[in-house]
């Protein structure tokens, strides 16, 4: 939340130096709260009752659902930042979506792996081309594509603008992908697969799930702020190096 507010509202924070100062102040608290939430969440995840139908495997949901949620939230954050880049030409927005892409890819990977591990005892195979899993996999490929695009270009501001365009096109495309994957899936096989999650979650499972979701969300923001900071530093190093090259030329 901090960045998206900062990006859209407070032009004060446009200044990367201010952002660095703010980050240094917030980060320890954010990290501490995240760690505490994870401790509580993990404790709850392992002490609550198992589901009578799914057995203990429901515990996988406490990791899987928050990771899947993050994979989508991260893309939304990136889409917001991409608008920031293209519309307001905000320097922090450039950095923000570049820093978020690897985080999104990692959380999507967690969602995929845990989903597959949950599905193995349920379905008997590691992977089923279920509509949801498939959509998440397509999202994963999109994240990797954005990372590759960012890495392929030298000039950071040009890379930021171009990947912002890609992110927005992808964002618009997500509902279409989801719809077509659903259609493709029901076309080929009847809905025999047990849907992940579903509406039949009762309070017993809801509590650890919510705590874990909150913990993961805060983890994302902690890492995101740190990654933005790293990226700002990386750019400063690059500019200072170029400056050093120019200075050395002038002296000799």
């Amino acid at each position: 939340m901090t960045e998206s507010l900062a990006i859209t509202k407070f032009s004060d924070l446009a200044n990367p130096t201010r952002f660095l100062a703010l980050a240094a102040r917030i980060l320890p608290w954010l990290a501490a709260v995240t760690a505490a939430l994870f401790a509580v969440g993990l404790y709850l995840a392992f002490t609550t009752q198992g589901d009578y139908q799914q057995g203990d495997t429901v515990r996988i949901m406490y990791v899987h659902v928050p990771a899947a949620w993050l994979s989508m939230m991260c893309y939304s954050v990136m889409a917001l930042s991409a608008i920031g880049t293209l519309v307001w030409r905000h320097p922090l927005a450039d950095v923000s979506h570049k820093a978020a892409a690897p985080l999104g890819a990692a959380f999507t990977l967690i969602a995929l792996v845990t989903g597959s591990l949950w599905g193995r005892p349920m379905w008997g195979t590691w992977w089923v081309w279920d509509a949801r899993l498939t959509s998440v996999f397509v999202l994963f490929l999109m994240y990797l594509g954005i990372i590759a695009l960012n890495r392929a270009m030298d000039d950071p501001s040009r890379a930021a603008r171009l990947s912002a365009v890609l992110i927005l096109v992808g964002f618009v495309n997500i509902p279409i992908i989801k719809f077509s994957v659903n259609w493709w899936n029901t076309l080929h096989q009847p809905a025999s697969v047990i849907r992940l999650g579903g509406p039949t979650i009762d309070g017993e499972f809801l509590r650890p799930l919510l705590v874990m979701a909150l913990a993961f969300t805060l983890l994302f923001f902690t890492l995101h702020i740190m990654a933005i900071r790293n990226e700002i530093w990386r750019r400063r190093v690059a500019t200072q190096r170029r400056m050093a090259a120019r200075l050395a030329g002038r002296e000799s």
Partner: protein
């Protein structure tokens, strides 16, 4: 000689890590190509399991050819190729080491990623292991054959597509024996070893012929 070639290997590896993720793009292409197949043929797990080894092999073949056109072209663009050509030590060895570096940085990740794609194609453990093993053994041959194409097309401004067109027909034997060895491991009556050993032989044959051909092309393509 050892120091010279280690220096070249290390430089090429460093470049492939730094110069904008060539390895990442190859793996990504591999995953995307294989992942798109089910959207075409449908999510029928039995069908996917049956065509799995072939799809993974074709995906790896295409992905392995992807970055090959840059093998000598980057060297030529900045003038390094002239210096590589002028040295006293055999050019064949230089080409061999460059192929090795390219394989390590761009093709080995494909081999490592292949079990994951095997899971997506609903292949069983034996099949996945067989595909990975045949890829490990067969993919160097793709790089060696590709090096000839890359060397032939080195002076062409848009050689990328041409390299693939030149090289793909030459890769057919590798594909045939790689896929048939993978199938032989899964389907009982066919023996695994004969096609696998032929694959090994093909790789060793091209490990000699590829660098020789590429060196010859580089010597004659100079301007």
């Amino acid at each position: 000689m050892g120091i010279i070639m280690t220096a070249l290997l290390l430089r090429d590896l460093k470049l492939s890590i730094r110069a904008g993720g060539g390895a990442l793009i190859g793996v990504l292409f591999f995953m995307t190509v294989v992942a798109v197949i089910p959207f075409g043929v449908g999510p029928d797990l039995n069908l996917l399991a049956r065509i799995g080894p072939a799809i993974v092999w074709i995906g790896a073949l295409l992905a392995a050819l992807l970055g090959l056109d840059r093998l000598f072209q980057t060297e030529r663009e900045d003038g390094s190729l002239d210096l590589l050509l002028m040295q006293e030590h055999p050019l064949v060895l230089t080409v061999l080491v460059k192929c090795l570096a390219h394989w390590l940085a761009n093709v080995l990740p494909l081999v490592i990623a292949s079990p994951l794609l095997g899971l997506f194609m609903n292949m069983n453990e034996v099949g996945i292991g067989a595909v990975m093993l045949t890829l490990l053994v067969g993919s160097p041959a793709l790089t060696f054959i590709g090096a000839v194409g890359a060397a032939v097309a080195v002076t062409l401004p848009r050689g990328g597509l041409l390299v693939s067109i030149l090289v793909l027909p030459l890769c057919v034997p590798v594909l045939i024996f790689g896929v048939s060895a993978s199938y032989a491991a899964v389907e009982d009556p066919a023996p695994f070893l004969p096609p696998f050993l032929i694959l090994v032989a093909i790789t060793m044959f091209f490990a000699v012929l590829g660098p020789l051909g590429a060196a010859l092309a580089l010597r004659n393509g100079g301007d």
